[in-house]
Amino acid sequence: MRTLLLYIVLSAPFFSTEAQILDGTLDVTGLPNFMQSFEDVIKEAGLDDSTLGFESEADANLISFILNPVLIVPSSTVCTGNIFRYSLYIHTENSPENVKISARTTSNSGIRFPASIPYDLLIIKPLGPRDLQPTNGGNYIEIPNDGTQAIKILEFVGCRTDIPIQFRIEASALAPAGVSNFNISYTIVGSVL
């Protein structure tokens, strides 16, 4: 009984800080350049080029999300005492027609921030361990070219940095050859549950 009371007292700060979600900063690094090589092009005449497809680097984008400093309290301290659950959604804007773009990451990718905190030692963690779960088991998910239909590709608990995102491009022969530009948008949503 004494142990149980001790646990409740020790974990009380974490429960209390979850009552109101705090602001954080999403940082996306990397400017993906999806360049189809000659080897990536379909070799059998009559087939659509989308049957082959090609991949980006495994870390074409790196995603980080950390809570903002509060007055003189640095982000590392704020992230230590405030644990939330985050879902990352993705969509494209103005991507070419007849081009299917998919994204994925691997299980538990990225780095916990800070690397180790007292929350990790709790026997019962209110939001579970500070891990990352990719949607669809880490398999590719097609990205909608529609901001009203942004799709979830992963979720994680606690602040996290350097989450790698890899892309797969399946371009039909109907898509025009040459260079085009479009945007990939990331939206992160916090939750206390």
Partner: protein, 190 residues
Amino acid sequence: MGTSKHIILIVVLMFFQGFTAQERINATLSSIILGGGQQSVTVTLDLQPIAIVDLEPENTNSGETFIVEEAGNPFPTGGSANPGEFWLNYTYRGSNLETASLYTRINQPLPDGMVITLQVINSASINGNFIPNPISTPLTLSTTPQLIASDFSSGYTGDGENTGYLIQYKISNPNAISLPAGFEIVFEIK
């Protein structure tokens, strides 16, 4: 069915819905970014142009040219159900929606008296996505490229027999002369 059974059914359906549906949000609403954030990156996509042609049934020597070593013999169509006919498949991707045309020619002159004609006699699409635009009149082959299909946009015919353009060929060789070594009929998109 009682009310309680209806409720149970709805709960069960919602349970399975949660498993099967991918979670989506309307990311254009700033109100949903509670405690989160939003950022975009600009991506560059560079796709290769494609212009590949194939003849079916497969020629064992080449995917893009026919090699006939003995005039009077049928083309080596590998057991086609209709000797004297073959299917032409292509995949084409142009730059900036540029259209293309399909040409045929022979790589060297035919012996005197020998004539080879080709004619597109049909078109079909199995798992393809193209708009047929063939020249249906018979073509007498020469070293000058001749049009088989004109001004088509990016597309693909589907792979294999019974899809693409069905081409019939005829050989007239009254003097029974052999074809020169290295003779080829060439099909190209340009």
